[in-house]
């Protein structure tokens, strides 16, 4: 609403301070009004009560003003644009509303009206207010206010409306005021302040309608105000005139003042209700009476407010008048054109009263009228329509927003579709449910002849589903409830059990584990056996018993030394044992212990007590002792066999069986034979050993010097050879220089030294390192004795073992001797080698460093990994040479090696090659000058500088930027690899954000060879899947 423009809320704080000013201004206004009223024939307050009149009177002036204002407004533009159609649109409606001329005048245009009103009456009022009080202060506040106003227009609108509702009686006046203010807003406020205008128009509507309704209602008001005017405002007559002119110029200030006033008005509300009547000094007696009656109440109410502003009577009157304004709903001013000039307030009832006699349905009419009045009281008036174009545009905007919102409901769906990895169209397909058998059966209707025939038969036999159920139920009838329930429970239990068993069987059937199956089988067998035992222990047939016995015997024979056998375990599990069994177990354990010892080489089990003591003994008697021990062992063996026989007899175990006896006999025979052989051999070798005793004694003692290898299940003992760890072997294969000769001998040897018992390892270090260079050549003679090896099986007789051991020791001794000799021989020629080796620059340096690093082996480990391979070799060599007493010999050997490869300057060649490579790749400038072209030839000509444009620059790779820069052992080619280039991309392809991401995606193959079937299917599933022949409907809203 236009009148509602005043930013009440924002102004509130200021309102109180302005109160006084307002009051004064108000007084002035009143006086002005009274003047005006005096001007016109009517005695009533012109402004307050006869707005039409005022307007009409102003018509001339107003037009002029309008012209002025129009000029001003034209600048603002947009407002004017809206004004035109508005005027046209409004006019007809208003014409209908207002009967008299005044009304018409007022209705001509709201804006114009407001302008007029402002120009003349209101502004003057405000002018009075301004001039009389504080123009300065007002001026100061001005800009602030304006901004506020422009901002808060809509809010205020509402408030103002309310205010006016309350002020109903002085409708017109207030309306005009409001209009004024609005007009002022228009004029002074921001020209773009478009809403103001609209609101103003809105505001106008109610005012007009109110006018219409209450034109007649409040007639006393004009008179009252008039009286007041007469009383107070006459003195201000001159002021008014001044103001009338000044106000035009200072419209702004007046505007403000008016706003202020408007703010105050709600404050005064409390007083207002009856306040208007207070001042009503109507022409009629009735008025007077009412006035008097109301006066008291009004004063009572006024009392609290009065102290705030000490006022003269005029001031008081003014305020009261303002209060009175609130109740005013009348649009028309009381004047000669006003339709109703009665003293009493004209109500709707007054209008209806005459109808009371005529119409019977007055009640209903009253009812409807009541609604009307109530509505009008609420001021629920329609807003004036906007210009059609604007209105339509707004509508379109709103409609578009609506559509947008509506459409935006799809956004989640669309997002989902967009982000989906796989889409199967149609998206909204109905899921095809599977039909169960029951469903089918229920639906089934016999259609064919056969079916119907069968059905008939079933029916006649009462065998159909429903018949069966029926018969069952019939049968159940004979049973008692308990019986039935018990039966059911039983059935349910059975079913449950069956189901469980089935499920378990299914699960078990799925198990693929072989061990599980084996265990299962055994269990089964055990159960079977138990069952068998339980049933017929007595008549267990011969065969099964035999089988059992064999089993036990086998275990005893093979696993006596362990307690992990089946039998042993069974024994252990049994818990309480009788004496016999305990003995058996202990025997078994002791045997195992013996065997273990023997394997470890501490001594044969039987003589372990003595052997341990002996080891530290003097070296002199060692051989003798060994022999003695050997013989002793033999003797014991004999004894043991006898003992065994005895024990076999005692326990009526398998040894009584025939086959066992046979076997034992055979064994014994063989053992004896062996023992004899051994004795014979020992007798021979005794002499040889004696000779070497002095030299070898110590060594024989501490080391058996044998490697034990297992070849095809047999343990092979062989005189000590060089030992290699697995990793050293690996490094050897990749090494370049020293390996070639090593390998054959390595290969000849077994590959798995680690498979042997710990002894060889321990001893291997002690043994002499192999001489890769010399070993194969120098020992051709020894190769034969070395090869002479005896296979000693695990369970072969201990005689043999001891024999073998002895022989090994002897061999070892011999070998070492020979080696020492060889080294000594090499030593002689060493000096030559050294000199020869110096010829090559790179070649000899390597062995030297090697030997050095060999001395400080531990340090070598820390070297850079570039040299790791070399280091590894060296370490290997060191290990080989460690056993040697003197490092000199090792040095010699290496030199020998170096000498052998004297011609191969591998390192130097490599360095050279690398240098060449770098040179080739390095950036260079090529002079492309053709001799004889572009220069003078012949004798005496000086050689010209090469032209710069003929120098072709080849951008190579700078040596320092090479990948192999400062890496002595590698050459990394900087050339572009054409084959690899196929797999390169220029730029990072679009969806990828990093190189690593892209590479990873390219690394993962998607084919079946590299993926499981499911993985393959997932990996190759296309993004959009459509089925041929399926209609894909557009998305639908599913409610």
């Amino acid at each position: 609403m236009a009148r509602a423009q005043k930013p009440k809320q924002s102004r509130r704080p200021q309102a109180k301070s302005l109160k006084q000013n307002n009051l004064r201004g108000f007084a002035k206004r009143q006086s002005l009004k009274s003047q005006r009223s005096s001007k016109y024939s009517e005695s009533s307050d012109v402004y307050e009560y006869q707005p039409e009149n005022v307007r009409r009177s102003k018509v001339k002036l107003q037009l002029e003003k309008d012209e002025l204002d129009g000029a001003r407004r034209d600048i603002s533009g947009s407002e004017d644009e809206d004004d035109g159609p508005k005027r046209n649109g409004l006019r007809p409606r208003l014409v209908g509303e207002n009967d008299d001329e005044g009304g018409l005048g007022s209705d001509e245009d709201e804006e114009i009206d407001s302008d007029e009103a402002f120009d003349e009456s209101d502004e003057e009022r405000f002018a009075g207010f301004n001039f009389s009080t504080k123009t300065k202060s007002v001026a100061k506040r001005k800009p602030q206010k304006r901004s506020l106003q422009s901002r808060t227009v809509p809010l205020i609108d509402l408030n103002e409306d309310e205010v006016e509702l309350e002020e109903a009686p002085s409708e017109n006046a207030s309306a005009s005021e409001g209009e004024d203010s609005a007009a002022d807003d228009e004029e002074e406020g921001d020209p773009e302040d478009f809403i103001d205008v609209l609101d103003m128009i809105d505001g106008k509507g109610p005012a007009e309608s109110a006018d219409e309704g209450e034109h007649t209602q409040k007639e006393e008001r004009p008179s009252a105000s008039k009286a007041r005017v007469e009383g107070d405002d006459v003195p201000h007559l001159e002021d008014e005139d001044e103001d009338m002119h000044d106000e035009e110029d200072e419209g702004i200030s007046s505007d403000e003042s008016e706003e202020d006033e408007s703010h105050i008005s709600p404050m005064d509300d409390a007083i207002s209700a009856s306040g208007d009547e207070d001042d009503d000094v109507g022409t009629s007696l009735h008025d007077l009476q009412s006035f008097i009656t109301n006066l008291d109440a009004g004063q009572k109410r006024k009392a609290p407010d009065d102290e705030a502003a000490p006022t003269t009577e005029t001031g008081e009157a003014r305020r009261q008048k303002r209060r009175m304004l609130k109740e005013r709903t009348e649009a028309g001013e009381e004047n000669e054109f006003a339709p109703h000039r009665g003293a009493t307030k004209l109500n709707l009832d007054d209008l209806l009263n005459p109808l009371a006699s005529s119409s019977s349905n007055l009640l209903s009419l009253k009812k409807s009228a009541k609604i009307l009045t109530s509505i009008s009281a609420k001021n629920q008036t329609l807003s004036a329509p906007l210009p059609q174009r604007t209105q339509e545009r707004l509508d379109r905007e709103a409609a578009y927003q609506q559509t947008k919102e509506e459409v935006d409901k799809w956004s989640a769906t669309m997002k989902k579709i967009k982000e989906a990895e796989h889409l199967s169209f149609p998206l909204q397909a109905q899921p095809a449910g599977r039909t169960s058998n029951l469903e089918l059966a229920a639906k089934f209707k016999p259609t064919t002849e056969l079916e119907s025939a069968v059905d008939r038969l079933l029916k006649s036999a009462k065998m159909r589903e429903e018949d069966i159920a029926q018969t069952e139920s019939l049968k159940m009838n004979h049973l008692s409830v308990e019986e039935v329930s018990a039966r059911r429970a039983e059935l349910a239990k059975m079913r449950e059990l069956m189901f469980r068993a089935e499920a378990k069987a299914k699960r078990v059937a799925k198990i693929k584990s072989k061990t599980y199956r084996r265990i299962k089988k055994k269990e089964k067998a055990k159960i079977a056996a138990k069952l068998g035992e339980g049933s017929d222990d007595e008549d267990m047939n011969e065969e099964t018993r035999m089988k059992h016995e064999v089993e036990r015997a086998r275990e005893r024979a093979t696993l006596k030394h362990k307690n992990t056998g089946k039998w042993a375990k069974a024994m252990r599990a049994r818990g309480d044992l009788d004496e016999d069994q305990r003995r058996d177990i202990s025997e078994m354990l002791s045997r195992g212990e013996k065997l273990r010892r023997r394997i470890q080489g501490i001594g044969s089990g039987d003589e372990s007590e003595e052997g341990e003591d002996d080891t530290e003994d003097d070296e002199e008697g060692a051989a003798d002792r060994i022999k003695a021990s050997a013989f002793e062992e033999l003797a014991q063996l004999d004894k043991g066999s006898e003992g065994e026989e005895d024990s076999g007899r005692k326990g009526k175990s398998i040894f009584e069986m025939k086959f066992m006896k046979d076997a034992i006999a055979r064994d014994q025979q063989r053992a004896k034979q062996m023992a004899d052989d051994f004795v014979r051999e020992m007798g021979e070798s005794n002499h040889e050993d004696d000779e070497d005793d002095e030299l070898t004694g110590g060594r024989i003692e501490e080391s058996s010097g044998a490697t034990i290898e297992r070849v095809g299940g047999r343990v092979t003992y062989r005189p000590g050879a060089q030992l290699r760890t697995v990793n050293s072997l690996a490094s050897d294969t990749s090494s370049i220089t020293l390996r070639s000769n090593d390998l054959p001998s390595d290969v000849a040897r077994s590959v798995t030294p680690s498979a042997t018992s710990p002894i060889p390892e321990k001893l291997g270090i002690a043994t002499e390192a192999p001489n890769p260079w010399l070993a194969p050549r120098q020992d051709p003679a020894k190769a034969v004795p070395k090869k002479h090896e005896i296979a000693v099986s695990k369970d072969s007789a201990s005689v043999e073992k001891s024999k073998n051991k002895l022989r090994k020791k002897a061999q070892k001794h011999e070998e070492e001797q020979s080696k020492a000799r060889n080294d000594a021989a090499v030593d002689i020629s060493m000096s030559n080698v050294m000199t020869l080796g110096d010829n090559s620059s790179a070649g000899p340096s390597k062995p030297k460093t090697r030997s050095q690093s060999g001395n400080q082996r531990d340090d070598g480990d820390d070297d850079s990994d570039v040299h790791s391979e070399v280091e590894e070799q060296e370490r290997l060599l060191d290990r080989k040479g460690k056993g040697k007493a003197n490092g000199v010999k090792a040095f010699e050997q290496r030199d020998l090696v170096a000498r052998a490869f004297a011609g191969d300057n591998v390192v130097r060649d490599f360095a050279e090659a690398k240098r060449r490579e770098m040179q080739e790749d390095a950036p260079k400038e090529v002079d492309t000058t053709l001799p004889g072209w572009g220069s003078w030839g012949g004798t005496g000509t000086r050689k010209a500088q090469p032209k710069p444009h003929l120098i072709k620059k080849v951008a190579g790779v700078d040596p320092t930027t090479r990948a192999d820069y400062k890496k002595a052992h590698v050459i990394i080619s900087e050339k572009r690899d054409k084959k690899a280039a196929k797999y390169m991309v220029k730029d990072l392809p679009y969806p990828y954000t990093s190189k690593a991401q892209f590479e990873r995606s390219m690394d993962i193959p998607i084919g079946t060879e590299w993926n499981t079937r499911v993985g393959f299917q997932r990996g190759t599933l296309p993004k959009i899947v459509t089925k041929p022949g399926t209609v894909i409907n557009p998305l639908e809203k599913l409610l």
Binding site: R396, Y983, P1005, T1020, P1022, T1026
Partner: protein
């Protein structure tokens, strides 16, 4: 016992257990047995892309019958094979594209060209023409009047209009349809006069095409001769928003899966997709045609669309990918005036100036017919290999290369030259203005001149 291994295979290991099952793949799980994965897959990708090119034979058939240019086509909703077409001579034919025969043929459906056809519900067909009439037809073999396929058909209903109609579209569910003449009119099938008129105020243009949104079925869009695109809503009964573009559009189509997306085929050789929630800029520009685009239609999946152009080519685009569409052409195909996707998204129809409707495969190299699972797996593997290796230069080149008619190629060259010249000029202009004064405008921002509400 000695175990003897014999060369025999249990059928279960290499044959599917049941007829429908996939064949069990036997492979050695040792990764060492499958070295060079990258190289091998690249070669396979290369082969796949070559195979694609070898087997790219998109043309299936031509449906004859029209004696003049095919102006408009419409598929029957819910069917795969029924397509109606209208021609410049006023002839209307309903085709069965799978049998390649005419279901209905009306030679004088309208006087002058038939500017729009669309299916109403069931078997009824609406046509509009420049003779200011909208006609409702029964497309059944024997219609209500008892006229057989050989008889002269009479329309079930005629809706007279005041001016020549340019386009017609039926609401998806309700019995209402919209026509485009100088205004947009909404008709009820049961009423002879339009139930409402929609027009953007102050517009005095001719509406050239109109389409109902498929999912938000009350939303309506039209394009006009004033280079405009206008959005309506029949619920609010208003033209809600209008944009004015650089060049006028010739056809429009709503996306079936993205209800906010609309596709415009523009006179400036491009296609544009707009999101109707923000009409300021197009969401994507599709550039490849070398002449005005005359028609467009979305695939029912909403991930592809087809366009036919004045340059005598049909192009099939991937949604969101503004370049390098599949291009179809034949020697005898003239200006393509109408295009259509079938409702299974497998085929594309194009009606052209030469009066033929051509059926194409939507994917040129796709094998038609039933595939067994192994073949399908192989095809899928090939497709994903192609996808994976599309960054490879060689693969990309093979998959990209198309033979196109010389005139089209030349026109493309010329266009490129012109655009380049424009670009250079603009750049120079910018270079010679004060720094920062004129900034290059994004291509998308150039499209829409004004957005009106």
């Amino acid at each position: 016992m000695v175990k003897i291994s014999v060369l025999q295979h249990a059928p279960s290991t290499h044959l599917p257990a049941r007829p429908g099952d996939p064949t069990p793949t036997s492979r050695n799980l040792d990764p060492l047995m499958h070295p060079f994965a990258r190289a091998r897959e690249r070669t396979r990708a290369l082969n796949a892309v070559k195979m694609e090119r070898i087997f790219a034979k998109p043309f299936i058939a031509a449906l004859e019958g029209h004696v003049d240019a095919v102006e408009t086509m419409a598929r029957k909703p819910g069917t795969l094979n029924v397509v109606a077409s209208g021609s410049w001579d006023g002839g209307m034919i309903v085709h069965d594209i799978s049998l390649r025969r005419h279901i209905l043929r009306v030679d004088e459906a309208h006087k002058g060209k038939i500017s729009g056809v669309c299916f109403a519900d069931e078997d009824r067909l609406l046509t509009c023409g420049v003779d200011r009439n909208v006609k409702l037809w029964d497309t059944r073999e024997v219609d209500e009047n008892g006229a057989g396929p050989s008889d002269v058909r009479k329309p079930l209903n005629v809706f007279p209009g005041k001016s020549a109609f340019n386009s017609i579209d039926h609401h998806r569910t309700d019995p209402i349809f919209a026509t485009a003449s100088n205004i947009v009119q909404i008709w009820d099938e049961t009423k002879s006069a339009p139930i409402s008129n929609l027009s953007f105020p102050t517009s005095i243009e001719t509406i050239s095409a109109i389409k109902f949104n498929l999912s938000e079925s009350s939303v309506l869009a039209s394009i006009g001769s004033d280079r405009t695109f206008t959005l309506y809503d029949i619920r609010t009964g208003k033209a809600e928003r209008r944009i004015v573009m650089q060049m006028r559009s010739n056809a429009l189509s709503w996306s079936p899966t993205f209800p906010t997306t609309i596709l415009l085929a523009s006179e400036d050789h491009n296609l544009y997709t707009f999101d109707i929630r923000s009409l300021k800029t197009p969401s994507q520009i599709y550039k490849a045609h070398v002449a005005a685009v005359m028609s467009c239609d979305w695939s029912p999946t909403g991930h592809q669309f087809v366009s036919g152009g004045w340059d005598r080519t049909v192009r099939i685009w991937q949604e969101g990918r503004g370049t390098a569409p599949e291009v179809y052409h034949t020697k005898r195909m003239q200006r393509v005036t109408s295009t259509l996707f079938t409702s299974d998204a497998k085929y594309v129809l194009s009606g052209s100036d030469d009066g033929n409707i051509r059926i194409w495969k939507a994917r040129a190299h796709e094998k038609l017919g039933i595939l067994d699972s192994r073949e399908r797996a192989a095809i899928e593997y090939r497709e994903s290999l192609k996808q994976k290796w599309k960054t490879d230069a060689q693969v990309n080149k093979i998959s990209r290369t198309r033979h196109i008619p010389k005139p089209v190629h030349k026109a493309g060259q010329l266009k490129r030259t012109m655009l380049e010249a424009q670009r250079v000029k603009e750049e120079r202009r910018r270079k010679h203005t004060r720094a920062g004064e004129s900034k290059p405008t994004a291509e998308k921002r150039k499209v829409v001149i004004a957005e009106q509400s």
